[in-house]
Amino acid sequence: MKRGLDGPEPDERPTPAGRRNKQGIRIDPEVEATHEPRRTVISALVEHEPGVLSDVSGLFSRRQFNIESLTVGPTEDEDRARITIVVEEPDPGIDQVEKQLRKLVPVISVRELEPDAMRRELALIKVNAERPDQVAAVADMYDAKTVDSSPETATVEVTGARQKIEAAVETFSQFGIREISRTGTTALARGTDQTATAGSTAQPADEANRDDQYQRADDD
């Protein structure tokens, strides 16, 4: 008996002219468009309740979003916490991050921050203190405070943009770094621009789905 079905075979069928890229966007096959990943900061205002942080971090690992840092802390309203996430994704990926975060029930609002937003990180750096004067000099250079010292060690606190922290770590390494602890980036929008507030969910979903012109975000 015959196995299978009748009909024109694959190579006898017409084929369409177009193509899509990996992100499902129609492209001119001549010029394959790909989206390069970019680093950006997403700020989410959430209900301050147990399990929210694991919901959010679980979402990132489950959906394979490329996350660089995640910080969380209370806000002026004791029922609300702010989660600040640094992600590195192509634009469609950043869109997905925002949309998937918005879907979580305890999440109140989500926003990608402008490139000019204030971004800060805090680091505690514990170094060998054989040359205390030089440690103090380097600390000065980065506006760092010495928060603990012992005969063998000095611990300094540095705050600033990520690059500043990187540079400080680099410079302190000459003394021999014993331990480092960093907070990851936290951020706020500038001026009267709201970072993410309870009122800002009202952006209609279609609006969020319009093609945005993204700019490259540079750390300050």
Binding site: L5, R13, R20, R26
Partner: protein, 602 residues
């Protein structure tokens, strides 16, 4: 396994001293309530849980008893809610899932802590993938033991977070009823899905006189019902000017009760219609405009149309990879008009040129108002009809050869009414059930789509039977491998005297795997040979069901008639051609337009 939890366990000794253990005392009811005796004030957390279900209009629940959930079951004892004790918690979740598909209201399942809750996980994941409305209530060890690795303790909210729409750990006897009300509302509102409330035993045993709040979603959960008028207008214009339009109806169409509106729209404007697998039944497959299902095992004509269209109106679909094949070759010349209630689905897999976020029924009505003239697509419509004859689904069934599965599906379809409900397991039999049964009504196709859960068929038939009207037959088309996974449910069907017909398409293989091994693994049948199957007809008899067997074509019509006529659960062990394969077929990530019609084309 978890039935044993009913024995007194260390965890059971940790109850509040002042717990109410006997809620079955109607005489003690206060007289200030002059309604029926069911509206006595609640006295415990467990009673408020059950009250929340009653307030939400719940009539049925599916579950398995156990230590940590006992207080809730005790409260159920006095309730009018009909509880169906299942043989395994996975079956409880699938039955509740199917109940939700058929009735449109969230199905309820219950399980105890630990193994009871973990047994629900597959069913929760299934409902999550298919956006089926479902509420799971799980027992939990008393609060003070949580985190101590107590007997039958599992971090249920932690385990189920990735597979639920939302879950809650109840922490207050006064709030627990409202937690359940909220879970019920969340399961059904917006994009439906499974929700779970974890119920520590001290919370359900705890005293409370707080009546649960009415079902309502939290303020942070917002659903947009209507799409942006401007985008609707632009989309309408695109449709009017389309040369090659196609509608693609997904499961969301059925969930939002938009089938009728979609039918009218398609017929009014003469637009060919394709469905996804969960969208089966949203459009009558016997209508000329129907191209049936597209995707991996969709029809040739649906796959041709979706590949060559220039305007794709996707409604309530998430463009799963089984539908799209490789993204690069999916509808590559089409502008996509995408209607979905979940903004996160827009442009997730396929870029939407016209994103219409909203409830399918509402948005289709918006489109109906906005589209003034039908597209002039005469050539395209003729082309679609041509494809229907070019790629006909006609199959060979010589009478001297083993029974072909397609023939059995068609015979079952013929022997039942248009409103008969089909449930399936997962595998070849499921694909044949999609292809060779002619669906005309929404909520008559009950299957596991996104997760592809073998074993879904029988428990879902139980849930579907309980939700269905009396005059609707329920037929479970199963595979031998799938049926073996959850057949303990037969005991439930017998006990409840459920009129279900199970047709096991028995090819003594885990057939879809065997088909892939033949195509892609040089025919090396590693662990796919199922010649060790029991005799399912005899097994059915052992459970107290009616058993039938089909070996050749002469048996088919009569046996099916007898099995369907039997008033109770019947099982037909249908011995089909073990070499039968599912075609058309688009290999994973392949080009839909290049579907294979036979193995040599793969």
């Amino acid at each position: 396994m978890s039935e044993r939890a009913a024995k007194v366990s260390p965890a059971d000794d940790e109850q509040d001293d002042d717990q109410i253990t006997d809620s079955a005392t109607p005489d003690a009811a206060t007289e200030d309530d002059v309604k029926s005796e069911t509206t006595e004030p609640v006295t415990t957390g467990a009673e408020s849980v059950v009250r929340a279900l009653e307030n939400a209009g719940v009539e049925h629940a599916f579950g398995v008893q156990g230590g940590a959930i006992m207080p809730v079951y005790d409260a159920l004892y006095d309730s009018d809610i009909r509880h169906v004790t299942m043989a395994h918690e996975q079956g409880a979740a699938h039955a509740a899932d199917a109940y939700g598909i058929v009735s449109g209201k969230p199905g309820i399942c219950l399980a105890t802590s630990g193994p009871g809750a973990t047994n629900l996980v597959t069913g929760l994941a299934d409902a999550d993938m298919d956006s089926d409305p479902l509420v799971a209530l799980t027992g939990q060890v008393p609060t003070e033991l949580v985190g101590n690795d107590a007997f039958q303790e599992t971090d249920t909210t932690g385990v189920t977070t990735p597979v639920t729409k939302n879950n809650t750990f109840a922490s207050d006897s006064d709030r627990v009823g409202s937690d359940v009300s909220e879970a019920f509302a969340l399961a059904g509102e917006g994009r439906p899905g499974p929700t779970l409330v974890d119920l520590p035993k001290d919370i359900t045993n705890g005293e409370t006189d707080r009546e649960p709040d009415a079902p309502a979603v939290p303020e942070t959960y917002e659903v947009q019902e209507r799409a942006d008028e401007e985008i609707v207008k632009a989309a309408a214009e695109r449709i009017e000017n389309a040369a090659r339009p196609v509608m693609l109806l997904g499961g969301g169409v059925i969930k939002s009760e938009a089938s009728e509106a979609c039918r009218e729209f398609a017929i009014e404007h003469d637009i060919p219609v394709i469905t996804t697998m969960p969208g089966i039944g949203s459009f009558p497959e016997d209508h000329e405009l129907s191209l049936e299902m597209a995707g991996m095992h969709g029809t040739g004509y649906a796959n041709m149309a979706i590949t060559h269209c220039d305007t794709l109106i996707g409604i309530g679909t998430r463009f799963d990879d089984r539908l799209t094949g490789g993204i690069e070759t999916f509808a590559p010349d089409a502008d996509l008009i995408h209607v979905d209630i979940d903004p996160a689905e827009i442009s997730k897999n396929i870029h939407a040129d016209y994103p219409l976020v909203g409830d399918a029924e509402t948005v289709v009505e918006q489109l109906v108002d906005a589209v003034d003239k039908s597209p002039e697509a005469t050539k395209w419509r003729a082309q679609c009809q041509q494809w229907k004859s070019d790629y006909s689904m006609a199959y060979d069934a010589p009478k001297d050869k083993p029974v072909q599965p397609e023939f059995v599906i068609e015979a079952l379809d013929e022997a039942t009414s248009d409103r008969a409900i089909v449930t399936t397991g997962v595998g070849q039999h499921q694909m044949w059930a999609c292809q060779y049964w002619t669906y005309t009504e929404p909520r008559t196709w009950v299957s596991s789509h996104g997760l592809g859960t073998m074993g879904y068929g029988l428990p879902s038939a139980i849930g579907a039977r309980i939700a269905a009207d009396d005059d609707q037959e329920v037929v479970c088309i199963d595979g031998d491998g799938s049926f073996l996974m959850t057949l303990q449910g037969l005991s439930v069907a017998v006990r409840e005297e459920l009129d279900i017909t199970v047709a096991v398409l028995n090819n003594e293989y885990i057939g879809m795997v065997r088909q892939w091994q033949d195509a892609f693994f040089d025919g090396r049948h590693s662990a796919s040979d199922y010649s060790w199957m029991p005799e399912f007809d005899k097994l059915a008899e052992a459970f107290g069901a009616e058993g039938f067997r089909i070996d050749d074509y002469d048996d088919v019509a009569d046996t099916i008639e007898d099995a369907i006529a039997y008033d109770g659960p019947s099982v037909i062990d249908v011995h089909i051609d073990p070499d039968a394969n599912v075609y058309p077929m688009v290999p994973s990530g392949g080009d839909n337009g290049q579907f294979a019609l036979a193995e040599d084309q793969l």
